[in-house]
């Protein structure tokens, strides 16, 4: 039986994976192995429900309930000296079980420890803003909204931050293609020239690797330039570039043994 692959994940996939390949795990260790983390976890457990906790790559990961997040971070900041929210964002698990995983990367400069607080939310559910606790969450929650469409309750300015305000679609979702969707292809055409120019201009080519040798508007015909806008039918002879033959390739000098020099000094 063929392995199931989610159809709504359009990100790059490995084109070959061994049938019997079992991916190894990054080792996890018990929280009890680290005194500081164990004490912190005990303190959190006394007040909030902790679903799972372990240490991975020198940092503790704590899973909590979504509605506890404000309380947990406030407790960690005021009682446990985790004074900085370094980073927060989401992970898209929509294809797997229709959830987002939200993580908050906390830093305690006093203890020199980092804790990652995590929880899951359903698709369409909003998170509680922690902007009142950490001003840095102001921008990171906006970025999360911008990239995943996850809104934060009680946020003072829930607007897109990196993408334009009138953008449609959420770029970091797995369902969003790398080169953008249909909206992205028409965005600048509509904005600059107007919708009525769509037929004349056509959609934006957003795949940066595209080279169209029949396109005389862009610089795709290096060495064989024609006046801009010339219609090229496509019936011309295919041109074979010859390397270092008579005539030579454009921009590369013909190799000539007489006039060549041997460089001894690499710093020349």
């Amino acid at each position: 039986m063929r392995a199931y692959t989610p159809k709504d994940d359009v990100q790059a996939k490995a084109y070959y994976t061994d049938r019997y390949y079992v991916a190894p795990q990054v080792p996890k260790s018990e929280v009890e192995t680290d005194e500081v983390f164990a004490a912190d976890l005990e303190a959190i457990k006394a007040k909030f429900e902790v679903k799972e906790a372990y240490i991975q790559v020198e940092q503790m990961v704590v899973y909590i309930n979504a509605h506890d997040i404000y309380g947990v971070l406030e407790f960690m900041r005021d009682e446990l000296a985790y004074t900085q929210l370094s980073e927060m964002s989401a992970i898209d698990w929509l294809a797997k079980d229709n959830t987002f995983e939200i993580f908050y990367q906390m830093l305690s400069m006093e203890k020199r420890k980092r804790i990652r607080v995590k929880y899951f939310i359903e698709n369409g559910q909003a998170v509680d803003s922690v902007e009142k606790l950490f001003r840095s969450a102001d921008w990171s929650e906006r970025e999360m909204f911008d990239m995943f469409g996850i809104e934060a309750n009680n946020h003072p300015f829930m607007k897109r931050i990196l993408m334009p305000y009138d953008w449609q679609g959420y770029p970091l979702l797995k369902t969003y293609p790398l080169e953008g969707d249909e909206f992205a292809a028409w965005y600048e055409v509509d904005k600059i020239y107007g919708k009525e120019a769509r037929d004349i201009i056509g959609p934006e080519i957003r795949d940066t690797a595209t080279v169209d040798r029949y396109d005389s508007e862009r610089f795709a015909r290096l060495g064989f330039e024609v006046p801009k806008g010339t219609k090229i039918t496509g019936n011309e002879e295919p041109h074979v570039d010859s390397y270092q033959e008579d005539g030579g390739i454009f921009l590369i000098k013909k190799y000539d043994k007489e006039s060549s020099v041997v460089i001894d000094d690499p710093q020349r």
Partner: protein, 413 residues
């Protein structure tokens, strides 16, 4: 097809004309020369005083996190150059270290020493660039020319190592691709011997300069609470009274073997940040002298390894690839399919010249990272302008943006 001019007008611009109060809305950037790239600030002004500031970012957004999800790990390395393009090796390093921690790799000592050299050279380059541009923004043209001259020497040294001046891609996952050239150490020594005098020259020009002091002292004061709350790191945090340097507190590479101090100040104003940049240059020079010694010791001890030995993840040395069939096969698989780190996640923070540069990687065992989050320090150093600018005057904006040392490749990613 002609462009229709009105269509290009931003849609929010007409709002301000309907206001009844005396507030003026000033649009600063995104093409302002002192906006350090692509920063757009919407400033609400009462006379010359700012009452509300709204930084608008995203003009350089390239979606690096999205690109990372569609690239194999080694492929992403040159993309990290384009984050903080003033000190690109430190981005390379942050990413390489994150992946190494993920797969649990130990890098050979010689590679570690070379990496430390590159990191500190990058720190010097970045700080010199900061000094030059900030001084230029404030009107000190001489310092700009002086600092760029010194930066040029460093760029030449880096160019001698990896061939590139700005986007180095000089570090690989598992080590470094090349050993340093013969005259690298000599050039570096010559530069370092001159550097103290150079730094003194800048300080002579600036430290007692009346204009510089007026634009720097008591301007843009960030309190400790504000800096912590806004996620400030690096010189921004150290100028506000927290002596937190990741190289010191959570040492990576061989930073626990070198002697250096962490300069900090409790003033929190522009001048404190300026002083910290200057002192950090001296500390970097100190570290570089020690790395030269470490390198020479490596050479004496015959430690020649530059890449970690981990056939599952890292290609064999070129000589093996060219002579041994199995190495060639393994190299082919690693290049075409990419390495597959174990399932798990990692967050690794390094001290880049701007602050805490963090890479969060969530791997699901595939050749592409499932989620990669770039924690760029400048993002929050831009955000803090929202709270920092109100109360200041228009001329202060330029000097405050200058000392925050934001780079937009990193803010927008």
């Amino acid at each position: 097809m002609a462009q229709i001019k009105n269509r290009l007008t931003p849609f929010f611009e007409n709002i301000t004309f309907d206001r009844e109060d005396n507030e003026l809305v000033l649009n600063f950037g995104p093409q302002h020369p002192s906006a350090h790239g692509q920063l757009r600030l919407m400033l609400h002004l009462q006379q010359e005083q700012i009452v509300k500031a709204h930084p608008d970012v995203g003009y350089l957004h390239r979606g690096m996190e999205k690109m990372a999800e569609n690239m194999i790990y080694n492929e992403f390395m040159p993309t990290t150059d384009r984050m903080d393009y003033i000190a690109s090796s430190s981005n390379n390093y942050g990413f390489a270290l994150a992946v190494e921690k993920l797969i649990g790799l130990e890098v050979p000592r010689r590679a570690k020493v070379i990496r430390m050299m590159l990191l500190e050279i990058n720190r010097l380059m970045s700080h010199l660039f900061w000094l030059a541009t900030t001084a230029l923004d404030i009107g000190a043209m001489t310092v700009f020319l002086f600092a760029f001259r010194e930066r040029e020497y460093l760029m030449d040294i880096i160019e001698g190592y990896c061939g590139a001046r700005l986007t180095h891609a000089a570090i690989r996952i598992g080590g470094v691709p090349l050993d340093i050239q013969d005259d690298f150490l000599h050039q570096l020594r010559v530069f370092l011997n001159k550097l103290p005098q150079n730094i003194k020259d800048y300080e002579d020009l600036l430290d007692t300069n009346r204009i510089w002091l007026m634009r720097m002292e008591e301007v843009g004061t960030i309190s400790t609470e504000m800096a912590l709350s806004w996620g400030c790191t690096g010189p921004m945090l150290r100028a506000s009274g927290v002596a937190w340097d990741i190289r010191k507190e959570e040492p990576y590479e061989l930073y626990d073997e070198v002697e250096f101090n962490v300069p900090y100040s409790d003033k929190g104003d522009n001048f404190a940040r300026y002083r910290i940049y200057m002192e950090e240059m001296r500390e970097s020079a100190k570290i570089l002298y020690q790395t030269i010694e470490m390198y020479e010791k490596c050479e004496k001890d015959g430690q020649t390894e530059l890449m970690a030995h981990a056939p599952k993840y890292i290609s064999a040395p070129k000589l093996d690839i060219m002579t041994q069939n199995y190495s060639l096969m393994q190299h082919f698989v690693l290049v075409t399919q990419g390495m597959r780190p174990p399932v798990g996640e990692v967050y690794v923070a390094t001290e880049s010249p701007k602050g805490e540069l963090g890479f969060y990687i969530n791997s699901q065992g595939g050749p592409y990272p499932y989620r990669l989050k770039l924690r760029a320090p400048s993002f929050w150093h831009t955000g803090i302008l929202t709270d920092l600018l109100p109360g200041h005057y228009i001329p202060d904006v330029v000097s405050i943006i200058g000392t925050t040392n934001i780079v937009f490749g990193e803010v927008d990613r």
